[in-house]
């Protein structure tokens, strides 16, 4: 009941597919309250991740996460690049030299990712950003991990919580990012960054079969 390097690579590949399949939805969400490039940016970023993972064949979970981070940072362009990039970088640092990840390690990685995103974007919960999805996901992951659940169970609970965290951004007025320029008009729309967080966590959770 642990994630190996191969599982982490499979998880990243699943994320590449999920982002491509949901690109249009992300474009639509971002068009409503941002500049409409989030879907394109995320797709370009994860296609670069796919390419790099094939090129470098990383040998540890941390190396996979770091390759993902640097690919996103180098290719996304919009705010999602440095934000998701920082999330994966911090997760890589938290993974350290580990060869495999258990449920508690996955929860710790998610916590590190959240801390990184919060520091980089200076956003708090309730600002209508990806933090709203990621913060509740981390709390759910930590609760599930404390019960001794394996990595996939932890990711599943994180993904489900991220869905509700993302949905809760709908009535909020944005206080960070491009959407904040809209003020009250940003209310009534799902935040694209929060939606992306939920998409990625679902993709990660679906990669491990019954582990």
């Amino acid at each position: 009941m642990v994630c190996t390097t191969q599982h982490v690579i499979a998880a990243m590949r699943a994320a590449v597919r999920a982002v491509s399949e949901n690109r249009d939805e992300l474009v639509e969400l971002d068009r409503a309250i941002g500049d409409g490039d989030h879907g394109e940016n995320m797709e370009r970023g994860f296609l670069a991740v796919d390419t790099q993972l094939r090129l470098v064949s990383p040998g540890t979970p941390a190396a996979v996460l770091k390759t993902t981070a640097t690919s996103l940072i180098s290719s996304v362009g919009g705010a999602a690049g440095p934000l998701f990039g920082t999330a994966f970088l911090r997760a890589a640092t938290a993974a350290g030299e580990r060869e495999t990840l258990d449920g508690a390690a996955v929860a710790a990685l998610l916590r590190a990712a959240l801390d990184g995103v919060t520091a980089r974007g200076r956003a708090e919960r309730g600002d209508k950003t990806m933090v709203d999805a990621l913060a509740v996901a981390v709390e759910a992951a930590e609760r599930t991990a404390d019960e001794g659940t394996g990595p996939i169970g932890v990711l599943r609970s994180a993904a489900t919580a991220a869905d509700s965290g993302a949905r809760e951004t709908i009535p909020l007025v944005a206080r960070k990012g491009r959407a904040s320029y809209l003020g009250e008009r940003s209310a009534g729309h799902l935040d694209p960054g929060a939606r992306s967080v939920a998409l990625l966590l679902h993709a990660f959770a679906e990669t491990g079969g019954d582990r």
């Binding site: 490039d37 940072i73 362009g77 690049g81 440095p82 920082t86 980089r120």
Partner: protein, 231 residues
């Protein structure tokens, strides 16, 4: 060597424009632009920012200025990726005013911390009365006060380059200097403030200096004006 600068922007032309303005005022400062995406769209590019950071590094440190939110994040990431992240600082400053203030400070040979401070103090607004704090303790008023009037004879008046020269000539001089033209006054060290006076050829400017080296400050400015700002 002088502190270098990097201008991080969502737009290539915006970042290059800032570099152009800055280059005119601080010819010996290494300033590089990192604007737009590699394909030509708007956005910020980590690789370009890292490359600009390397190109601006003289060994004395680099100050990065940015336009909007995600440019700050990209700038911060580029700094964190350096072998020694302490050699570069992302300044929390308005892009144009901050870049100009930082460049003038760097041109004057100031260190990394002082250049960051110059950028972050720049608001584009007029300095409060009295300008920067200079200790006048233990001095009689006569000892630290000086005034004079000059007529501008150079072609462009107190335009960008002369204003930058004015600020530079006061580097290291212990005196606060106010320049006035007609109704308007500005801190002589604020390039944008001095430009904002709109003083042209033939205009009369008055100078008021306070501080231990008030006389020296006025002497330097007078020489500069008499040399027609080396035009």
């Amino acid at each position: 060597m002088r502190v270098g600068l990097v201008v991080v922007s969502h737009s290539a032309s915006l970042s290059e424009g800032v570099v152009e303005v800055v280059g005119q005022m601080a010819p010996d400062v290494r300033v590089n632009a990192a604007g737009g995406l590699p394909g030509g769209g708007t956005g910020t590019d980590f690789e370009a920012t890292s490359a600009a950071l390397a190109a601006s590094d003289t060994g004395s440190g680099v100050v990065l200025l940015y336009d909007l939110g995600s440019a700050r994040m990209t700038a911060e990431l580029a700094v964190e990726a350096l072998a020694d992240p302490n050699t570069a600082v992302v300044a929390e400053a308005p892009l144009v005013e901050g870049a100009v203030a930082a460049a003038v400070a760097a041109q004057g040979g100031q260190g990394l911390e002082a250049v960051v401070e110059a950028a972050e103090r720049a608001t584009g607004a007029e300095e409060p009365e009295g300008g920067e704090a200079v200790s006048t303790e233990g001095l009689s008023p006569e000892a630290y006060r000086a005034e004079s009037e000059l007529i501008l004879a150079n072609e462009v008046g107190l335009h960008a380059r002369p204003a930058a020269l004015l600020a530079r000539t006061l580097t290291g001089v212990e005196a606060a200097v106010t320049v006035s033209c007609g109704e308007n006054s500005a801190d002589a060290r604020s390039v944008l403030g001095v430009m904002g006076l709109g003083a042209r050829k033939g205009d009369r400017i008055s100078l008021r200096a306070t501080g231990p080296e008030a006389e020296l400050a006025l002497r330097r400015i007078t020489e500069l004006v008499e040399r027609n700002f080396d035009e």
